[in-house]
């Protein structure tokens, strides 16, 4: 991938809105026993928002790292790896109770880890696959605009 700074932000927000959020709501719905319990669902929503926000903060860092690479690109493998780094950091910070709006009790023990990991896996896999090409089928100019949407 050869993302530009604006492209990174736009693609991240797009995937968050159109893939991450719907899947998160569905996942929360399932976890709360297939009934709409916003107190449960909101934990997942805020958790995903935090990961996305953290990612947006890291995007300038990624862009800097890209600019030190001759091809100024970002291998898919890096995207894969750093997505999980973003998840890991937010998870452990939340588990330590450092995120005021995320109840730390939800992230304790292997059960907490399991639920959060499954949540992120379900969001990450389709988002990552979308980056590998399907987005191009819908947004034909996206690949030439470094991840930005709109006209060339």
């Amino acid at each position: 991938m050869t993302l530009t700074f604006a492209g990174r932000l736009q693609t991240r927000l797009f995937l968050f809105l159109f893939i991450g959020l719907p899947i998160t709501c569905l996942y929360g719905f399932a976890v709360s026993g297939w009934q709409w319990d916003w107190r449960v669902i909101q934990v997942f929503v805020w958790f995903l928002c935090t990961i996305t926000g953290f990612g947006l903060l890291l995007d300038p860092v990624y862009i800097f790292l890209q600019s030190t690479r001759w091809d100024r690109d970002w291998p898919f493998a890096y995207q894969f790896f750093f997505s999980w780094v973003e998840f890991g950091v937010v998870f452990f910070v939340a588990r330590a109770g450092l995120v005021p709006y995320l109840p730390e009790v939800a992230f304790q023990g292997s059960r907490g880890l399991g639920i959060a990991t499954l949540h992120f896996t379900l969001v990450f896999v389709p988002s990552f696959l979308a980056l590998l090409g399907p987005l191009q089928a819908i947004f034909i100019r996206w690949r030439f605009k470094g991840g930005q949407f709109g006209k060339l």
Partner: protein
């Protein structure tokens, strides 16, 4: 149809392009196949610098006269276009290095057939093929073909009237979109138009090669990339799919070939070698897309001779049909189009100067030297057969040199006495790669490494945006900084050099080649060779006695060498791009390169009311995009120009938004017509 005897006027051409001495007449009395070349057993022996032993054949039947190139080294050209095989009509000019053959019209009567320019040929001397003197005034090679068509209608005019063209008696066709070139650039542009919803009968594509990838395939084959070898291209750079998804790596999985490519794409270029598709797979996929978009219905096999603005805001394209049923003047036609796309590819190319000088001065040593882009399989076959040492100098350090070294490595399996001397101008140490701001290009074995011919972000990353936004001078500087000769990081290539260095059959030589001289054969044990003199970087003069020299320094494209483009440049005073070089911190303008065009690839100088002309490919070098002659670059320029048409709304091209895009892509996936 031209009745026998078929007559050619033969002229010898000097280096300056003018004729030497009186022209002569070649007379073919009967049907048959006649070989022309330097070989003694050729039917028409022509001496000369760069004439191959078997250069070309003239094929005469009662119905038609054809010329066929016999895989000659320097090619056979008809009216300025390189050909493999083509039907000729009266007035056509065949050129091979040093010679010009013009097919003359039928003689007025049988008695005058052997009387040419007032010289009567003695009947007893008339054999199947004879050469006789001809006292016709010599003319410059190109002017005589322009005299006939589209001379009267086009010459000296920059705007022509459609009525005048109709009155000329030549067939005149009308179409909305016309793609000139017929190669990959034209195909990709037409593919975009079709996927944007334009009907096939609104489009005409004109070119001299029946298959859109013919020229590309020829260059691949010559530079030793047969169909099963891999190209230097990305998985998602699919010339047969305007969306680029699914890529070639995924296609290989689908066809059950290999899943390795998908993992390569995941890790490339840092954790794994970059994936590249097989040449044959690319050609197969293009065949499939050509059938899907009805390319054969839109394509006309013809040579484009000229383009003019018309007085009603369109363009007249003059072309001459190649093959088919039409003959004589019937073959000369016009098509009037609202929008024209120019993608004529590399015009007649030339070699680097010292190489060109050598082949000009020592035609006898032609078999010992080759440019990597010309056919030279014979060298490997001879080297493999020879029972003894063979020394080959490979010059240059690009991707082609890598492939040639690999080919020589393969030849070593048959003749383990092949040695490779790799001639490079300077050594490059591990920290000596090109620098662009904070980044430095990787170096392996004194060769700079890059997955593709430009840094990846030039195609769709921040460098594309930055380059497009830059002014002409800044673009020139960026081009210098980011360009340069590179090869791909392939473990097999690195392994060959490492092993050759260790075993002593590969040696790099650093310095400028100062002279090339032929080494005549001395008996059976010492066949002819070439002596390569090098001023080494240490200041020594090294003389390498080699059997062969393969020059991998590439070809020089010069758009003025295309008579079609030269005529347009002169008629409309079109702007050109230029090279730039840095001197003492300032950019100095160098020679002209491609045609100047806007960021939408429009040639502004040809704008005609609502009529538009766009360009793509090698002829736009130095323009708004760096990688213009790559698959993805051709797709980019096609997308820009078709999007521009959609934005301007003059030509009923509808925008391709997300829903229509997804719909079009779905049709592609299921193989339905767009």
């Amino acid at each position: 149809m031209i009745p026998f005897p078929v007559r050619f006027r033969v002229r010898q051409i000097g280096i300056d392009g003018h004729t030497i001495g009186p022209s002569r007449i070649l007379l073919c009395e009967d049907p048959g196949v006649f070989l022309i070349g330097k070989s003694e057993d050729a039917d028409v022996p022509l001496s000369g610098d760069a004439v191959s032993r078997r250069h070309m054949s003239l094929l005469m039947t009662d119905d038609e006269v054809r010329v066929r190139d016999e895989s000659s080294t320097n090619g056979t050209y008809v009216n300025g276009t390189r050909v493999d095989e083509v039907v000729l009509s009266a007035g056509d000019q065949i050129s091979i290095p040093g010679w010009l053959l013009e097919l003359l019209g039928p003689a007025k009567n049988a008695a005058s057939a052997t009387r040419i320019g007032g010289v009567e040929v003695d009947e007893s001397l008339v054999s199947r093929l004879i050469m006789t003197d001809d006292d016709a005034a010599p003319s410059s090679p190109l002017s005589s073909s322009r005299r006939t068509f589209p001379g009267a209608e086009f010459d000296g005019k920059d705007v022509v009237g459609v009525e005048a063209l109709r009155a000329s008696g030549h067939p005149v066709d009308e179409v909305r979109f016309c793609a000139v070139g017929g190669g990959l650039g034209s195909f990709i542009w037409v593919d975009h138009l079709r996927c944007y919803g334009i009907a096939a009968n609104d489009i005409k594509a004109i070119g001299t090669e029946g298959v859109c990838y013919q020229t590309y395939k020829r260059y691949c084959k010559n530079s030793q990339i047969p169909d099963h070898e891999r190209l230097r291209s990305n998985s998602l750079s699919r010339p047969d799919n305007i969306w680029g998804f699914p890529g070639y790596a995924l296609r290989e999985v689908g066809k059950g070939i290999s899943v390795k490519g998908v993992f390569q794409v995941f890790g490339e270029p840092t954790l794994s070698e970059s994936y590249t598709p097989r040449a044959g797979d690319v050609f197969d996929s293009l065949d499939k897309e050509a059938a899907r978009i009805s390319w054969p219905e839109m394509f006309v096999k013809a040579q484009v001779l000229g383009l003019r603005k018309t007085s009603d805001g369109r363009y007249a394209v003059a072309y001459k049909l190649w093959g088919g049923e039409a003959s004589g003047q019937e073959r000369n036609r016009y098509v009037i189009a609202d929008v024209v796309h120019l993608s004529t590819g590399y015009p007649a190319t030339r070699f680097v100067d010292d190489f060109q000088t050598f082949i000009t001065n020592h035609p006898d040593a032609r078999a010992q030297v080759a440019n990597a882009y010309e056919p030279h399989d014979q060298m490997y076959i001879e080297a493999e057969r020879r029972d003894g040492p063979v020394q080959v100098v490979v010059r240059g350090r690009g991707i082609v040199a890598s492939r040639i070294i690999q080919r020589l490595f393969e030849a070593r399996k048959k003749n383990p006495n092949i040695r490779i001397l790799h001639s490079m101008r300077t050594p490059i140490n591990a920290r000596g790669g090109a620098v662009f701001r904070m980044a430095r290009r990787l170096v392996r074995n004194n060769v700079e490494i890059q997955p593709f011919n430009w840094p990846k972000s030039c195609w769709g990353g921040d460098l594309r945006v930055e380059y497009e936004d830059a002014d002409e001078e800044q673009r020139g500087i960026m081009l210098t900084q980011l360009g340069g000769t590179t090869t791909a990081e392939r473990s097999d290539w690195i392994g060959i050099v490492d092993r050759g260095t260790e075993e002593g059959w590969y040696r790099p030589v650093y310095g400028n080649i100062s002279d090339l001289a032929p080494l005549p054969a001395q008996g059976a044990n010492q066949p002819a060779g070439v002596q390569v003199s090098i001023d080494t970087v240490e200041g020594n003069a090294e003389k390498l006695n080699a059997d062969y020299l393969v020059d991998c320094t590439g070809l020089i494209a010069d758009i003025r060498r295309s008579p079609f483009l030269a005529d347009m440049l002169d008629t409309y005073h079109l702007r050109r791009n230029h090279t730039y070089r840095m001197k003492d911190g300032t950019a100095i303008q160098g020679g002209p390169t491609g045609l100047h065009c806007t960021n939408d690839f429009e040639i502004e100088g040809l704008r005609n009311n609502t009529g538009r002309v766009y360009a793509a490919g090698a002829i736009t070098t130095g323009g708004p995009y760096l990688a213009v002659d790559s698959f993805l670059g051709l797709q980019y320029s096609a997308l820009r120009s078709v999007d521009h048409l959609a934005t301007e709304r003059h030509h009923k091209v509808r925008n391709l938004g997300p829903f229509r895009s997804l719909g079009g892509w779905t049709k592609w996936m299921v193989g339905a017509q767009p």
